[in-house]
Every structure is written in C-alpha cells, then in structure tokens.
Symmetry: C2
Subunit: 98 residues, 2 copies
C-alpha cells in the first residue's frame, strides 16, 4: 500500500510489525463501527440477565467487549447469537450436578 506494495506474509522486523499492527487494528475498528452504523446493527440485549452473565465473565477474563468486540460482532451480525450463548451457559450452570 502507501509508499510501496507489501506482501501479505509475516513482517519479520518486530518494530515494523508492531507499528503495522497498531495502524491496521485501528483501521479495522473504524471500519467495523462504520458498518455497524451504516447497516443498522440492532442494539445489544444488555438488559437480558442471561446475556449479562456472559458479558461479565468476558470482562473478568480481560476481554473488553465495549471497545474491542462489540462493534466487530455487531458489524458481523453475530451479536444476537451471544444471547443464545448466554442461555447455553445458564443451562450448563443449572445442569451442574456435582
């Protein structure tokens, strides 16, 4: 791109790799949030207590949903599927027999 085309393979120089990672990651987030707005991804069901449990577990694990995953999942139309996941986690907890 830019001042010269690059091949899509691992960047061996670690400094360049880190710089590229930072730049492209920001670009990825921007595009994800644009897609979310343009295509009207529906709101998250944070009011759903089952979903809330999963989000809390993710936060506890260090995954910041709001800033890192939410716009991406929205853009990919994956967000509503996490409701199903939340239910699945809930069922697993209820079926725990030890």
């Amino acid at each position: 791109m830019a001042r010269g085309k690059i091949q899509i393979k691992k960047i061996e120089n670690s400094t360049n790799r880190q710089v590229t990672h930072s730049k492209r990651r920001n670009g990825l987030f921007k595009k994800a949030s644009e897609l979310t707005v343009l295509c009207d991804a529906k709101a998250w069901h944070l009011c759903d207590p089952n979903a809330e449990k999963v989000f809390k577990a993710l936060n506890k694990a260090g995954v910041n949903f709001d800033t890192r995953l939410r716009p991406l999942l929205r853009a990919l139309n994956c967000d509503h599927r996490f409701d199903a996941l939340a239910v699945s986690a809930e069922e697993r907890a209820l079926n725990c027999d030890h």
Copy 2:
C-alpha cells in the same frame, strides 16, 4: 467512497443497505485475516480442554468461530484471553453449588 462520498449514518434504502453490508463485511474479514498474517497472531490453543469447552459452547450457540470470529480475534490479539475465559467458565462450573 467510490462514485461519491457517503455519510456514516444508517442507509435507509434496504437494498443498498444489504449490498453495502455484504461488501463491507467481506472487506472487514479480508483485512482481519491480512492483519493476522502480517502480525503473526499466535495459534489458538485448541488442544487446551478448557478452551475447547468454550469453543464448543459457542458453536452450539451458532457462532462459527473458524470463519467468523477467529481471524478477527486473532487480529485483535484477543485470542489468548479466551483461554482465561475458558478457565473462568470452568471455575464457575466447579463452584456451582445447587
């Protein structure tokens, strides 16, 4: 972009919205996989039984990790954090007391 600049707000025409969604989603996946390769995201720890449980739960919920989320999570360096999530889920199951 392209043949005219657009504002980042909901595309009201549903046909255009769908077309844009499809195009931009593909672009997002492409950029995510490029970033994964360029910046050498490390491999998933699928051999980890704790992580495996989470992946299975996600698949059961209809989230196709391999095609939808894995390249994105890799690109975002979130993948290793899912190991922590897996452990968290495991602990929660073990601490289930009813």
